[in-house]
Symmetry: D2
C-alpha cells in the first residue's frame, strides 16, 4: 500500500463499515435496489464519477423476471421514504436499477469491475449469537436479508471508488465500476451486457466474498461457475369439493408435490456437477377444495453446458410426467439463466501480481470452487469475445454460517483487503495490458 | 301452497333472485361476511324480526381459525364501501358475523332453521358457458366465489322470513332463523352452539342445495355427514445456498411435498368412508435457497368417529415421518372440526309430511349422501341432547358442475321450492311437536 | 335340525375339523390346488357324487393368470408326494383344478353351491398366540397360508356333501357342489362359468366366513361386492453404472416407486367405495446398476362399475406419468377381474327362511359389507341371466385377526352352523322354486 | 517393445482375445467366479507361477455379502460342468475365489498388480448392433453379463503373466498377480488385504478399462475414487386384506417406495461428489394383500469421507422417516464398503515413464475421473501404509455404451496396449524402486 492509500483507507474504513451496515439494514430484492443504488450514486457523484443508470446501461427487452409494477412502485416509495434521492430513483425507471460509474486518469486501459448489490427473501436471525442482530444492524425489512454478502461487495466497490479518486495520480486509464442489480436469479448482468457497457473493456474483474475460503486467502479464479436455468412452473388442474366429489378434481397441488420430489430425485451426472432446487411452492386456495393451481420457482444447474442440458431435459420430463399423472396442464416460463466462464490467464496473472505486491494475503490459490453460479460470467464472456481479459476471484472471508443461511455473516475486515487488492490491480493494469498488446 | 303464500311467492320471487345474485357478486370468506350479513339483517329488521348478532350469539372463546385482524378490518371497510350499514358491522365485532333473527306468532313450538352464508377462495370461471358470468352476476371479488350454493341458502332463509312474516296468521310458534358464518372449515356453528342459541329449540332444520341430487327431488336426511378435523401444519427447516452448500440445508418444502403425497396415500378404511385433502401449501422464499419453512392446510375425514381417529393417527405418522426424513420440525394446529349427526325420526317425518302437502317434489327420499360434512351437526346434536328433534335435508338442484368447482352453478328455481317446503314445515310443526309431547 | 341330521353332524364334526386342519397344513395357491381338490374328490367319490373336473368344468381359453408350467408341475409332484391320488391329478390337467360334484334325489330344482379352496402367499405366524401354530396345524409350506378361511369353506362344502348324501330322503332335486380354484385374484370362477356349469341352475349360493361379522350372526347378502381389475405392470428402462454415468440411465425401479406412491394417492370417489393396492413389486438386478426393469402386481376396485372405471382411468394416468417422468416404457397386462352382483330377492328369502328354521343364529341381517370382492359374482350374474336366483351370504365368525393377516384364524364352531344352514336351504329349495315358478 | 515382447504379443494376441471371449460367455457374480478363476489358474500353473488361493489369500472373517451356500454350491457345480478343474474349485472353498500368482526373476522389487474378474446381474443385449452377440460370444448365462470390462482386465492379467514368464531375462524382481473376486459391491479386496498379501509390496498397480477415456489415451491416476457404503435394507410391516381392512395394514412396500424416492432426492453436497442408488427392490407377496415386507439393496457414495458421512447420515433419516410414516420397522445391514485412495507420486511417475517408453499411447494424462469406486483402494492404502507406492490408472478404450449398460462393449485392441504398458512398468520398476530407496 502506498502512503496515500494508507491514509485514505485508515481514515475511511470506519465509515465504510457504517455504509455497509446501513445497506445491511435496508436489503432490497433484485430490480428493486432503489435505495441501495441511490445511496451509492450519491456518493459516486460527489467523488466526481460520471454516472450512467437506468436505460442508459440496461436493455429493457433483455430483462427477465422483472417484478410486478406494484412491487416496483412500492419499492420506489419505500426507497424515497428512507432517504434515497428522488432524481436517481426516477432515472432508474421501472426495475432498471443498474449503475455504471466511470473515472479516467490518463490514457491507460479500461478496467471494469462488477459489484452486485441485491439481497434475498429471508427472515434474518434475531438472536444474540447473530452479530448483525447483536450489534443492531440486522435487517429492518422483515423477510428480506443480505445473506450472500452483496452489501460487502457494494461497499468494496464504493470504497475502491473513493480510494481511486483520491489517488488518481498513481494509476492510468479508465476505471469503470458496475453496480449490478439482480445477481440472485441470474437476471441483472445480461441486460447490462446487451446495453454494450463492457464492449470496450480491456480488463474485467468480479469477485465474491466467502464461499468457504477463509479470511486471508485469495483465489484468483473460480473453479466451478455453474451454468443454470431458472424456471417458473405453473400447474393448472380442476377444482372440486374434496369430500363430495374428489374424483372430479385434477389436483395441481399434488402434481407440484410430485414434481418437486422427482426433480430432487433426478439422476445426477456422473462426471460433472449437477444440481436442482425447488425454492418456492405455492398451491391451492382452501382446505376443502382440490387445488386447481400451483406455482413453483425452480432452478437447475450444471458444471458444464452439457450437464445443464441433461438436467433441463430430464426436468422437463419430470414436469410433464407430473402433469400427465394428475391430469393437469403445465406451463414453464424461463425467468433467468447463468453461464459459466473461465477466467482469462492474463487477468488471473494480474490478480496474482497485485496480491503479491501487498501484504494482505497469506495464501493465493489458483482456483477455488464458487459453489454456485454468478451472472458476472455474461460480462466475462463478452469481454473475452471482444478481446479483453476477465477474471472472477474469491476473496476469502470467515463466515458465521453458509451463504443464504439466516445466520450468514462475514468478517468485515476483509472489505479492506478487497479494496487494497483492487486498487493495486488498477495500478498494475496498465503494465499488464501494455505487455498484452 | 295457500293463496296467501302464492301471492307472496309470486310477487317476490324475482326480487329474491336478484338478492341471491347480489350476494353472488360479493362473496365473503368465513368470519368476514359483513356485507352479506348486514344486507340480510337490514331486510329482517324491516320485516319486524328481533335481531341478535355478534357476541350476543357467538362465544368468542370457542372460535377457531379466525382471520388476522388486518383481514377482518379490510373486510369491514370493504363491506361498508359496498353499501353495508355501519351499525350492523359494528355490532358484529371482530369476526363474530353470526345473526339470529326471531319472530313469534302464538304459543306454538320453537322451530329453528340454519342457513350458512360464506363463500370460498376460488377464481370464478369467466367464460360464456358459465351462467353467472354470462348473465353478469359473477363474483366481483377476484379470488372469491360462492361455489357451494350458500348464496342460495341465505336467500332461501331470507325469503322464508318474508313469507313467514306476511302469513303469520297461519302458523303458530316461534321461528328462529340462524344465519351462520364460516361453515366452510367447520368453524361457525360451534361458537353459536356454545352461546346457547338452540338450547330451547323444539325442531331444528338445516339444508344443503345440490349434492348431486337432481332438481325436484328431496332427501329428508343426509346419509353420510362426515366427521372431520382441520389442521394447519408447519414444517421448519434450515435455509442454505441451494448450490453452494445444499448439504447444510433442511428442506421444509420437500418435507411438505412428501407429507402431501403420503397423506393422499394413507390407507383408507375398509368399512367406512375416509378422506383426506391438502388444500393449500406454501413454502420457501427464493429459487436458490433451500426452503426453511412450509405451511399446509389439510383436513382428514371419516364416516364415523372410529374412521376419523384412524385417519388422524395415521396422518400424524405421515407428518412426523416427513419431518424425520428431512431433519425438520413439524407443528400441528387444529383449526376446525366437524361431527356427523343423525337426523331425528320426528324431524324427518315432519319434512316428509311437509313435502307431501305441496306439489313441488316428484320424489322424496329417506336419505342421500351429503358428500362431505357440515357443522350444522353441532346444532343438531345440541338440540337432540336438549330433547328436541333435528334434521338435515338435501334440496335437489341440477348443477352445472360439482360443488367447489370454478364453474359451479345451481338451478335458481329450487330456491322457491325450498321456501315453500320450509313454510309448510313451519305450519305443521305445531301438530308435530304436539304429537311428540 | 332333524334327528337324522343331528346324528350325522354329531358323529362327523370332529372328523370335519380334522379335515379342515389338514387342508390348513397344506395350503395351495390358485390353479395349483391339486392336493386339496384330490382329497375332496376322493371323499366325494366315496359318497357317491358324480364328479367332473379339469377341462370338463373349465374353459382353458378363459383362464387368466395361470402359473408357469414349471410351478404347476412342481405343485402336481408335491401333491402326489403328500398323498393325493394321481388319477385325479391327471384329470385336473394343467392348472384346471376345478371340481363339480353332483347328487340327485328326486325331481326338485337344481341348487348349486360354490366353495373356494385356494390359499395365499403369506408366511404364517409362528407363535403360541396363534392357535393353528399352538395346536400344531399351522402351514407346513413355508410362504403359503390359508389366511382367508377357504379351508373352512371347502370343509363346509365337503361336510354338506356328506350330510346331504346321508339324508337324501328329506330333500328333492339336484345338489351341485362347485369347488372353485383361484378365487384370490378373481381368476377361477370365470372359466367355470364359460364352461357352462351353472347355466341350468335354479338357485345358486356362495358364502364367506368372517368379514368382521361375529359368530352367531348371518347376513343373507353382501352389501358391497367390489368390482375390481388386476394388472401386472412392467416398466422397462435403461441400465447404467449408478456412479459412473447415472445420467445415461432410465430408472425403472424409481418409476415403479413413483407409480406405487401415486396409485395409493389416487383421488377416491366421493360417493362410492374405491380402493387400490400394489401387492408386489420387484425391480432391478444389482446395487450399483440403475435398474432397467420393474414389475408390479396391482389391483384397483370400485363399489360400482362407474367407480372402477374412474379408478382404472386414473391408474393408467399414474402409470403413464411415471413412465414419462423417468423416460421408461410401461406395459399393462390384465390378469383378472371381478364384478359385483346383487343377491336375488328369492335367494335371500330362502336363506332367511332356512336360518329361521334352525336355532343356530342369534341375528339374521339383510346385508353386511363383504369388504372386498369375490368372483362368485360371475356365477351369480350368469344364474340370474339364465332365470335363476343367486345369493352371496356372510357366515359370521369371530376372527383372531383380519383376513389376509399372518395371524388370521376363525372360530371352527361356525363350520357346523354353515353346514346346517345349507342343508336346510337344500331342503326348502323345492318349495321356494315351486313358488317362484 | 523389445523384440522378444513383440514376438510373444504377436503370436499370442489372437488366443488372448479368444480367452477373453470365453470369459465373456461365462460371466460369474462376485464370490462365485469358480470357472473364471479355475481357467486362469490352470494357465498360470502351466506358466510356472506359484499359486495361492482360497483361504491362503482371503480372510474369511472379513468377507461381507457372501452369497447363500446353495448359490455357491450351484456355482461350483456349474463351473465343473463347464470345464473347470475340480481341484482348483475345491481349493477355493466357500466363496473364497481369490487367486494370487507369483513369479520371481532376480532380486528386484516386489511389484503387485490387481485384476478383478467378476460380472454383473444383467441380461445382455441380444441384437445385431451388439458386437458380442453378433460375433457369437455374448453371455450364455441368462441374467449375467460382463458389462464392466472385468473379462478384459482378467485377460490383461493373464496375458501379462505369459509375457513376463517368457521374457523373464529382461526384468528383475517378483511379480505378484492378484486376481480379485467381487469387485462389484466392493467386497473382494478387503479380505485379501486382511490376509496380508500386499504387506511386503513395493509397487502396486490396478487399472480400469474405459471410463469414457478414449482408446489410445492413458491416465496415470484416477481423480475421484468414490468412498461408498452398501446396505441391505429391510422394512417389516403388517399384512392385511387390501380391500377388507386396509386400515389394519402396515405397508412395507409403500415404505420402501417412499424410501427409494427420497434417497434419490437426498441433498447432494455442494463441494464434493455424492451419489446414491437403489439397485434392487423386492416387496410383497400377493396382489390383494397389504405387503408386510420389503427388501432394498442400496449404496451411497461420496468423493471424500466427509461427503460419504453426510450421505450416510441423511440416508438413515430417510429410512427411519419411511418406517415412521408407514408404521413399519426398518433394519439396515452393511454389505460392503469402498474407500478412495490417492495414487502415489512414485507409482504414477513409473506409469508415465513406462508409457513414454512405448509407442502405444497418443496422450498421457495425469488424472481422469474413475466414475465410481473400486475396492482396489484397500490394497493401495495398505501398500502405502507399509511404505510402498500404489497407483490406479485408467486405460482408455472406446466403448459402445457406458459401463453397466446391457450393450456395454470395449475395444479389444486395448488389451494389447495394457499388456505392453504393464510389461514395461515391470521392467522399469527396479530402477524406480532403487531411486526411491
Amino acid at each position: 500500500m502506498t502512503r496515500a492509500e494508507e491514509v485514505v483507507v485508515g481514515q475511511r474504513i470506519q465509515e465504510w463499515l457504517e455504509f455497509r451496515r446501513d445497506l445491511h439494514r435496508y436489503p432490497e430484492l433484485g430490480f428493486t435496489e432503489y435505495r441501495t443504488q441511490a445511496k451509492i450514486a450519491e456518493r459516486l457523484e460527489a467523488l466526481g464519477y460520471r454516472l450512467r443508470m437506468g436505460e442508459q446501461v440496461m436493455d429493457r427487452k433483455e430483462m427477465l423476471g422483472v417484478p410486478d409494477p406494484s412491487i416496483i412502485a412500492a419499492a420506489r416509495a419505500t426507497a424515497i421514504a428512507s432517504g434515497a434521492r428522488k432524481d436517481f430513483i426516477d432515472r432508474m425507471g421501472d426495475g432498471m436499477t443498474g449503475i455504471v460509474a466511470e473515472l479516467s486518469s490518463g490514457d491507460g486501459p479500461i478496467i471494469a469491475m462488477r459489484f452486485d448489490v441485491d439481497a434475498l427473501p429471508l427472515v434474518e436471525a434475531s438472536n444474540q449469537a447473530h452479530r448483525p442482530y447483536r450489534l443492531g444492524f440486522a435487517s429492518e425489512r422483515q423477510g428480506l436479508m443480505h445473506a450472500c454478502g452483496h452489501d460487502g461487495h457494494a461497499t468494496i466497490g464504493l470504497a475502491l471508488a473513493e480510494v481511486a479518486a483520491r489517488t488518481a495520480h498513481d494509476w492510468s486509464g479508465t476505471l469503470r465500476l458496475i453496480f449490478q442489480p439482480a445477481e440472485e436469479g441470474g437476471r441483472g448482468a445480461h441486460p447490462m451486457v446487451a446495453a454494450g457497457i463492457v464492449d470496450d473493456v480491456d480488463i474485467f474483474l468480479a469477485l465474491h466474498l466467502g464461499c468457504d475460503l477463509p479470511s486471508g486467502k485469495l483465489a484468483v479464479s473460480a473453479s466451478d461457475m455453474m451454468f443454470s436455468t431458472k424456471w417458473d412452473v405453473r400447474f393448472s388442474g380442476q377444482a372440486a369439493h374434496a369430500s363430495g366429489n374428489p374424483e372430479a378434481g385434477r389436483n395441481a397441488l399434488l402434481a407440484a408435490a410430485q414434481a418437486t420430489t422427482f426433480l430432487y430425485a433426478l439422476p445426477r451426472h456422473g462426471r460433472f456437477a449437477t444440481q436442482v432446487n425447488v425454492g418456492r411452492l405455492k398451491a391451492g386456495s382452501a382446505r376443502n377444495i382440490i387445488a386447481n393451481s400451483a406455482r413453483m420457482e425452480i432452478e437447475v444447474r450444471g458444471g458444464v453446458e452439457e450437464a445443464l442440458e441433461h438436467m433441463e431435459k430430464r426436468a422437463r420430463s419430470v414436469l410433464d410426467g407430473a402433469a400427465l399423472t394428475h391430469g393437469c396442464e403445465v406451463a414453464i416460463d424461463e425467468m433467468g439463466r447463468t453461464i459459466g466462464a473461465p477466467s482469462s490467464e492474463g487477468a488471473t496473472r494480474l490478480l496474482r501480481q497485485s496480491a503479491q505486491a501487498i501484504p494482505d494475503f497469506d495464501e493465493v490459490l489458483d482456483a477455488w470452487p464458487l459453489g454456485g453460479g454468478d451472472d458476472a460470467a455474461y460480462f466475462m464472456r463478452r469481454v473475452q469475445d471482444c478481446g479483453g481479459d476477465a477474471a472472477y476471484f474469491i476473496l476469502g472471508s470467515d463466515l458465521a454460517a453458509g451463504h443464504h443461511a439466516t445466520t450468514f455473516d462475514f468478517d468485515e475486515a476483509d472489505i479492506g483487503r478487497g479494496v487494497v487488492l483492487l486498487k493495486r490491480a488498477l495500478q498494475l493494469a496498465g503494465d499488464h495490458v501494455g505487455s498484452r498488446r
